[in-house]
Symmetry: D3
Subunit: 253 residues, 6 copies
């Protein structure tokens, strides 16, 4: 029995007890990043935090305080760094911070660590931090799952339910249907649905360009259709995510 | 009119509006650090976050997401880094992170920034970050208040109310009466009052020693008497803090 | 008229002339990384270098010396860092190095820069370097294309030609059909085709795990079927790449 | 018997002998910082160096060359970084330098190290360096005393002697009575007593502000009354410091 | 038997075989730096790479990909950093990169490593990297030769042959007779001999000055007489270098 | 008229006056490094400090506190890092520290800066620091002389006087005749002449090797004959150095 899964609300003896009971620890990693006219800056941080908390009981893990200040937004995945509100730290500092946090978890005695991310720009930086924290992969006393993306794909039925009119690709699902639907399910009080936009960049590309050109981003910050979101879709996504992730966490750690 | 003072729950146009309305921004800075048998690890982060939120309206500021992962705990101010649960980042990384965040606030257009800290070990590192972020003090487009400690002293009446049996010095007020009282007032659900201890180090000194020796810290992690805390004292402290801080924020920024 | 497109074989007045003639500069970025039993360690560096050289005339650019020492290999995209021969530098150092090189190009006077990468693990680190080199995107005197991946997708006819028995996904195309075919076309003398393997990891996942587990990588280092490669496929790929990239380079810069 | 306590005037075999004889080593840490119209820039470096030398015999220690270039001056403790002459290094570099020096002492074989500081702004940075140099407190082969402040308090008789008209608080004792008196005692040739000022900031606060505002600092650089200094007070301070410190050094190391 | 000495053209099992056969590894280190009107930017990288390859068989070593982006050019040894084309990275980044590469060689299992440099400005930085990579000289499992300069002196007969009209000192042999002759021998196709200049700085000094003053460098970038170069001199130099270096490599490693 | 040339003994208004009078500033840079059985660890720091002070009047400069903790000793120039007493900081930290100090001099208003070094291992690191401090050579408001070596050569008469039995090369003049003679002249009280040794490495080379092999260094730490030193030779050296340096300082700054 454990009083709470939120590490930050635990006392230190409770953390010790979690370690003694061979529990694992999940670190939610997100961003403070513009999410259109209608979603809060913390969207990328809120989703992984809630998801980790929602999976903690079943996977026998606790959840560390989320890393909210994270890497720079890129135009085609997050709208780019030019929106007011988007508050990022450099990639080098992010690596250093994550490495320190992982090493602290190891000092506490945790042997099962999951880095759970929702901000695509954090990819590779997270792996680098875990690589360094495990002494370039030579420390065998710990297992670290690096989940830079929360899933691989959904089944056809789910996709049909979510995208009855066709799937636009994950690339544009920033502050659009997917994230809006999740927030309508987990935190409807934070969604200004009446300001939700169907938007999209004038131009998409497999490359990026600096300085940022307006055509690669959008006016609202949403990269696709936010108005298609419903609470039902959010619930479906949430269930699918848990269905995917819980067995992995159980098996791998 | 502003919908919320929590920057992380704002949309980016709301942040822009805050900037356009000449609002300031407060950054709560704390720690994830042991706070005895009875207080949560987030104590140092929760207090400044709540206090900033509580002062935001009156000072015309918004509140950024707190920096919870911060500098190493020291034996005589926080019990030291050997407790499980205490989760810190190196001082260098902390400086770099703060500098980046401050520069982001400046990019958004904020001209009034307050760094509000509750974790004594962050002192000097915070000033260094602000020094760097203002290009070694030469950037005159912004005003930054660096509040490494939240107050100077309380008046005699308050001290008599808080410490009827004598004041032990601020140095030992870690996870003891002061912080416990505050949490009983602002977040009683997070206090395990039945586990609160009256504790104290065997030895106190004006210097530190490494490796950490047990005599300079305590078994529980509380550095003085936690059982003396009451909700009433917490409320009094809270009012005093606000009475001290609000006029400063108004005057200086 | 320009004597050579290889910057490293130019004299400095020739570089000056290139700048004066408003030429751009391409930086090939790769790795020194295991590529199975049959491909050389320089595969990731050779391909972008040759491709850049092959496009230089038509796009009016010159080609800088390739960055061959790059970021750590990951198990599911490059087999991971445990193979002898794979020689990487840390992500932080990689960012710093790229930033310096880009700033040098800017000092020379180049206003059109392309970072052209073939080693997937370099993604995001490259963007970060470009972000820093442009003073966080505020330097408007230069245009930088950050091509972390060399293409988005091929048309159906091409895919059918390349993968008549079905496409396994780009994720496993490391030291497999795709890269082997390219090398058979551009550098057949470097391919030990008789040692080529059809291999694949026992387990694939959308996440990574440290320390590296054998099931996520392969014995040979190839992640799919190398024996399906032919010179003809390599030629087709090469033409498709050029067909994709040349118009982009012309239009964007 | 030892020829000299100044490490810098020793030969290497003499250092080896000191190690073999189980001597400790003291590192004086100060600053090059404005000290008003009448005291030299090296005041903060001279005092700890002389004090360490004066205690070396009795504590069986030698004294390393002082670290004179140290962290940035802050307005309310040193007048701030805007005076010509104040010559500082960044806090990050200071941490790195101290860590290296401590590790060198450990390589020599010293098992008793004292970091003895007189420049308040160095606090916390010093502890961080020692923390890192001891591999985050896990190296048990050495004992390090981190003396960021040279004393806790003086007894009443001493205070009455030093401050017959009342004690203004340690916070303003920069280039004022205290330091002037010490220099009159240990290095009168460096004191321009005829230029000594009674000065003080227009405004004092428990927080700092950037960019630096004149009201928080002073014109002369002295933060209180320098004219109250006498050689006798300096001698009394010196004896009190030694009376406090020598027993600590003997007991702790 | 070994198929190739170029590590970058090897497969990973071939690198493993090299390690198993107790071969050593040479890392050529150069620059991308102006070399006058007539020599390519890669001169400093090409020479050590070819020399290493030419000595590999006899010394039982393989050759790693050259480090071409290296430290800043200085006015009196390379003409200075103001020529377009000279493309350098900072000294700190260079140290970090070399340390990483050396550590990778050690991970592969190599126990004999030679850092072979041709760009004088890399001196001391290279040693620092090797010092760090061997854990400050304490790692005894590897032998590293740090060859910052490729020779000490030539015999009189050679000097008379190379400099019949007198030796100007090695200091000015940048893009002059020495390097031109070598390239005429090893890569004549890269020499624009008709543009070769006899040049030299107006002023020579044992110190440097910043910002760079024109009198300490030259218009062409050559620091002495390039027209004196012949292929025969290049061949003689090449033989002398090999005669000097091969016995050292055999004896020391 | 100036009271003292020692910056550290100046008050801040005196530094300001020096700036206002267009004086320059010299930074002595040395080491804390073994210097045989008979010379103090501070030899490399003492010599440049005294020399700068001795030239200050005539060149209209002041002298900053010496940088004594500097880069790692190398076997063939300083005996190497394995002697107890040698106390160094990493090259990266050294660069960062020097950059900061130079920038502070520039902030004070100094337009003429000389970095004057006596520890050969500091070479190139010093230039890098100056390069960075001048914003990669683009800051034209200051002139910096980087004197990594204090002279080029002496005339024949001087050499005959100093080395009547032949000159062994500057490379071995560590803790040998040259430095011993200087100290006999400027600080005879610091020389333990009865312990002076004639020593030398078993083996000399133009390359270095790690880990350090005893044959490349010496037992005493002196690299040549210390017993040949006399006060008269020291005086001659001192006069020659001043004769060389003063005109340069006057002309260049």
């Amino acid at each position: 029995m454990i009083r709470t899964r939120k590490m930050w609300e635990m006392t230190w003896p409770e953390v010790k007890q979690a370690v003694d009971n061979d529990m694992g620890i999940m670190l939610p990693i997100g961003s403070i990043e513009q999410h259109g006219y209608h979603l809060p800056l913390c969207t990328d941080s809120l989703i992984p935090t809630r998801l980790c908390l929602d999976m903690a009981e079943e996977t026998n893990m606790i959840v560390a305080p989320p890393v909210m200040y994270a890497t720079n937004s890129r135009p085609q995945s997050g709208g780019g760094q030019s929106f007011p509100g988007t508050t990022s730290i450099g990639g080098i500092t992010f690596i250093n911070e994550l490495e320190d946090i992982i090493r602290e978890f190891m000092r506490h005695g945790f042997q099962k660590i999951t880095l759970f991310n929702w901000h695509m720009e954090n990819s590779n930086f997270m792996y680098e931090a875990a690589w360094l924290a495990t002494d370039k992969g030579t420390n065998k006393d710990v297992k670290i799952l690096i989940m830079e993306t929360p899933f691989d794909s959904f089944d056809k039925a789910t996709m049909d339910f979510l995208y009855p009119d066709g799937f636009p690709g994950w690339g544009v699902e920033h502050a659009a249907m997917f994230e809006t639907a999740i927030l309508l399910y987990i935190a409807p009080e934070l969604v200004l649905m009446d300001r939700a936009m169907d938007d999209g960049p004038e131009k998409k590309a497999f490359y990026d360009k600096l300085p940022i050109e307006p055509q690669f981003t959008t006016k609202s910050g949403s990269l696709w259709k936010a108005t298609l979101a419903t609470k039902e879709k959010g619930e479906r996504i949430w269930q699918e995510l848990k269905k995917t992730l819980i067995p992995i966490l159980k098996e791998e750690l």
